[in-house]
């Protein structure tokens, strides 16, 4: 057996994201502060040194790791001129195409007057360096994608920076769009949200492919809710059907704060989503919701971690997947209760609706509990539409297709009903319906 040469081994680890490509990328970021450039260099080293996920890695169990590749992507795709992107959520306050801001940030006067900051990461590096430094990719990667997270940290060039000052409550959601355009474009979307003490806001991320070509998305979002803050975060993902996507969510919840996040997964050939919630102080509450419509040969791989680090904290996770055709979904969740986190109340539930004979759902709901005065439960189910409910609808003269559709939407409504905002609820329902009718 001949040993592979060093170059070829390295090539397979980094794919299109070579040291040369990274050097070009850095050269274009001359205005970036020194600390950030240094972090990028360190991140690139981490990325290049870590191996690709292997079949035997517990954190990649059931994933089709053989299909993961870093080859053949445009590291710095050009931004097509005159591209207009309509978002179902409405006009975006920040819109990025291929990692670049395509229109100046627009923000309601109300927000500007009260000190809300909605800008790019690049701008924030100059105006709010300490906040950026303290919160940008600051949390540990515990869910298996350290390599891809490092890739993101190395290559991210811009993204959304949202800061809600102490006590400010925003009535309307802040909308961000991240788009990929052109063949083989690689994008690194990032959204950073900092809600200070008792602030209240809703942020919506919309991820979309501008065309049907294959894209590579490697994004992250950092959410920070200070004491008593209330943050709602919605992310809807609709990459093209041949794209590959990785998304890393980190949520930090401080004393008496509450974060509600809802992820809608529709697009991509293979999409992995990792979500980490850290409940750091008493009274913290994280509600983690997700909806997935999987069809064709799509694979959705969702990994979650709820860490209760302080007493009297609460988390509630509900992930629902509807599977059609030969689609596959993986849900792997873990609740960790640290030794002193007494009075923890944690819940984790994964429901899979099987709509075809060949769909495959895997569930790995896990618990690691090191405190005794807790209430922790989890559940996972995989089954088809309830035949009794279907029969009832059929007996009322509703056709089978329509009946199944009604029951499927009913399945999702439980999650959508957790949202306080009706307009957002309607947009998300619309996106799901479009997916079913395409």
């Amino acid at each position: 057996m001949s040993a592979p040469t060093l170059t070829s081994a390295t090539d397979s680890f980094v794919g299109s994201f070579t040291a040369e490509a990274f050097a070009r990328h850095l050269a274009a970021l001359s205005s970036s502060p020194a600390w950030w450039l240094e972090r990028r260099r360190a991140a690139y080293e981490t990325f290049a040194s870590l191996p690709l996920p292997r079949r035997t890695d517990e954190s990649w169990r059931f994933s089709n790791v053989a299909a993961l590749t870093l080859e053949g992507f445009q590291v710095e795709p050009a931004v097509p001129a005159g591209l207009f992107l309509a978002s179902p959520f409405g006009p975006a306050h920040l819109a990025f195409v291929n990692n670049q801001l395509v229109a100046p940030p627009s923000l309601p006067r109300e927000a500007i007057e009260r000190g809300v900051v909605v800008t790019t990461l690049a701008e924030a590096a100059l105006t709010h360096p300490d906040l950026l430094r303290g919160h940008f990719m600051a949390q540990p990667q515990k869910l298996g994608s350290a390599k891809y997270a490092a890739l993101h940290s190395a290559f991210v060039s811009d993204g959304a920076f949202i800061y809600i000052p102490r006590g400010v409550e925003l009535a309307t959601p802040i909308l961000v769009t991240h788009a990929a355009a052109g063949p083989d474009a690689a994008v690194f979307p990032h959204t950073l949200v900092i809600a200070e003490e008792n602030a209240k806001a809703t942020v919506v991320d919309f991820f979309v492919s501008a065309d049907a070509s294959t894209h590579f998305a490697c994004g992250a979002n950092d959410l920070y809710a200070g004491h008593g803050a209330q943050l709602t975060y919605i992310a809807a993902q609709n990459w093209s059907g041949t794209s590959r996507s990785f998304q890393f969510n980190s949520t930090v919840v401080r004393r008496d704060a509450r974060v509600q996040s809802l992820n809608l997964h529709l697009g991509g050939r293979q999409a992995r989503h990792e979500s980490l919630s850290q409940l750091q102080a008493p009274g913290a509450f994280s509600e983690m919701l997700a909806l997935t419509v999987a069809d064709g040969t799509q694979e959705f791989d969702q990994r979650t971690l709820q860490i209760h680090q302080a007493p009297n904290t609460k988390s509630d996770l509900l992930y629902k997947n509807a599977l059609r055709d030969q689609a596959r979904t993986i849900f792997s969740g873990l609740i960790v209760v640290d030794p002193d986190a007494q009075k923890t109340d944690a819940y984790q539930s994964n429901r899979n609706l099987m709509l075809s004979e060949e769909a495959e759902a895997s569930s790995l709901p896990g618990l690691e509990i090191q405190a005794n005065d807790v209430r922790c439960t989890h559940g996972a189910t995989s089954s088809r539409i309830d035949p009794e409910q279907e029969f009832y609808l059929l007996s009322r003269g509703i056709g089978k297709t329509a009946a199944d559709e009604m029951l499927t939407f009913g399945f999702f409504e439980e999650v959508l009903n957790r949202l306080a905002s009706d307009p957002l609820h309607d947009v998300l329902r619309g996106l799901i319906q479009t997916q079913f009718k395409k």
Binding site: T56, D57, E58, R61, F62, P339, Q342, N352, M354, L355, S356, E357, E358, A359, E360, A361, S362, S363, L364, P365, G366, L367, E368, I369, Q370, A371, N372, D373, V374, R375, C376, T377, H378, G379, A380, T381, S382, S383, R384, I385
Partner: protein
């Protein structure tokens, strides 16, 4: 004393951990204190450590057919080539020193100790459990032989009238190869995991049972009866075949603390339930707190067959055991009922595997665990329903009870379902003993310890009732014992 070359009871040096389960478990490996004495007769001793010579020695002593030696040698290679599964299992496995283990001791090298050398708390436990005097000495390792030969012969005579074969592994493979060779190592292939490979290389002891078509064995067959023959081995091998429509219940272990002195116990148990057959396999494991108990148990259920594992783990330092059922025939049914109790220094890593491989197969898993002090209990489960099957159902419930503030529990199920014609549900909960309940009982004059013990017994009551009566009574007493000193 009846002696034959192929029977052995492996009892190696004693450890302090057994006497005092609260000490650091790693130091429990120390074999210097309270050692048994060995008679020096090297001709019948494979010595410590594992090599091809050890395997050849064991096979030679047992006068085995060449194919069995081949099987063992191949297994040894597999064992050596396989890595420790520490990428998912506990790192504690790395503390096993394979070179210091005695893989085979034949009759005559039995370690001995006097009753005075048996630690007081073990004696006290025997007292509390009401173990007969004769058995106590055997269980404490004072007498390597407990004369239950008569009882064993009786049951063997009784069932042989029905055509049942009930022998040890050596005898099974030597006297009845036409029956056992076909299924031996087929349910659990040698390479299934590192420890099934180890067992395949050095197995001795265990029971080989064949129940002819339509025969329903009225009384449970117990390894207990066969203690003095060979069953106390570290590497026992059990194969039970229930032919079409047959029914049999098998019990292994006993609730008394086995004062074992060997640190590694690695058994392989294979069950084959042919069409319409029913096998119930009951285990009560209570090894002393220095034993690594790494066991592979699996059954194949053919059409309409039913396999039920009732598994109770109270002893050992680390147990890793996930009884499984491969549901191979239409309408087959698999069940696992599991109780685990982990006290200080113990890790009960138990669970179940259900592999559905035919239409309309059903499986049910109910697991309850109790963690006391710094004990850690883990549920690990696998449910697999592949493509193109229909009408398969699985139900899994795991409940964990945490007694002290620093107790620990983990749950790691893995469930894969394909298609829309099957249904799976999994539920797990973690809780502590209800304070109001304890308060109420204390109001009625119970001590906190008694109240706690009652609450814990209540937690597992519905499962404990599925055990044979004498076992469930002992189980209750044992929980009383374990709960003492766990509160306050």
């Amino acid at each position: 004393m009846k002696t034959s070359n192929d029977s052995e009871t492996v009892i190696a040096p004693a450890e302090e951990a057994a006497a005092n389960p609260t000490i650091n478990p790693v130091s429990g490996i120390d074999q210097s204190s309270g050692n048994f004495r060995y008679d020096m007769e090297y001709a019948f001793d494979a010595g410590t450590g594992l090599s091809e010579n050890t395997v050849r020695y064991i096979s030679g002593v047992k006068k085995e057919a060449p194919w069995i030696l081949e099987f063992r040698l191949k297994a040894l290679k597999t064992f050596l080539s396989k890595p420790m599964p520490t990428h998912w299992a506990t790192k504690d496995l790395e503390n096993i020193n394979f070179d210091k283990i005695r893989y085979y001791l034949s009759q005559g090298q039995k370690p001995k100790r006097t009753w005075d050398e048996v630690p007081d708390d073990i004696k006290k436990t025997f007292e509390r459990l009401g173990i007969p005097e004769q058995e106590r000495k055997f269980l404490a390792g004072v007498e390597a032989q407990f004369d239950s030969e008569a009882a064993y012969s009786n049951i063997k005579d009784l069932v042989s009238k029905q055509g049942v074969i009930f022998v040890n592994s050596t005898e099974g493979l030597r006297e009845h190869p036409e029956i056992f060779k076909k299924f031996f190592g087929k349910v659990i292939p040698t390479g299934d995991n590192k420890f099934s490979a180890l067992n395949s290389a050095v197995f001795s002891g265990g029971s080989f049972i064949y129940v002819p078509p339509g025969v329903k064995v009225a009384q449970p067959l117990q390894a207990y009866f066969r203690i003095n023959a060979e069953n106390f081995g570290q590497f026992e091998r059990t194969l039970i075949i229930a032919d079409e429509g047959a029914e049999v219940t098998y019990m292994e272990g006993c609730t008394a603390p086995k004062f074992s002195t060997s640190t590694l116990h690695s058994a392989v148990v294979e069950l084959v339930a042919l069409k319409g057959a029913k096998i119930q396999y009951i285990t009560v494991q209570n090894w002393s707190a220095n034993v690594f108990n790494l066991v592979t148990k699996r059954g194949i259920a053919h059409e309409m067959a039913h396999i039920k594992w009732i598994d109770c783990n109270i002893g050992s330092r680390l147990t890793m055991k996930y009884p499984g059922v491969v549901l191979k025939g239409r309408k087959a049914r698999g069940e696992v009922i599991s109780i685990a109790l982990a006290n200080d220094g113990q890790h009960q890593d138990t669970g179940a595997k259900m592999i559905h491989a035919a239409d309309e197969t059903t499986s049910n898993i109910v697991a309850k665990s109790i963690s006391v002090g710094q004990g850690r209990s883990t549920y690990r489960g696998l449910v697999h329903i592949p493509k193109h099957l229909k009408g398969c159902k699985n139900n899994t419930e795991c409940d964990a009870l945490l007694i002290n503030t620093n107790s620990r529990t983990d749950t790691y199920p893995a469930i894969t379902v394909r298609g829309d014609r099957n249904s799976v549900q999994h539920e797990a909960s973690v809780s502590k003993v209800n304070e109001e309940m304890i308060f109420y009982m204390q109001q009625r004059g119970l001590t906190e310890g008694q109240a706690m013990s009652l609450a814990v017994n209540g937690f597992i009551n519905d499962l404990a009732r599925q055990f044979p009566m004498e076992y469930s009574v002992e189980l209750k007493r044992l929980i009383d014992l374990e709960m003492e000193g766990s509160v306050g």
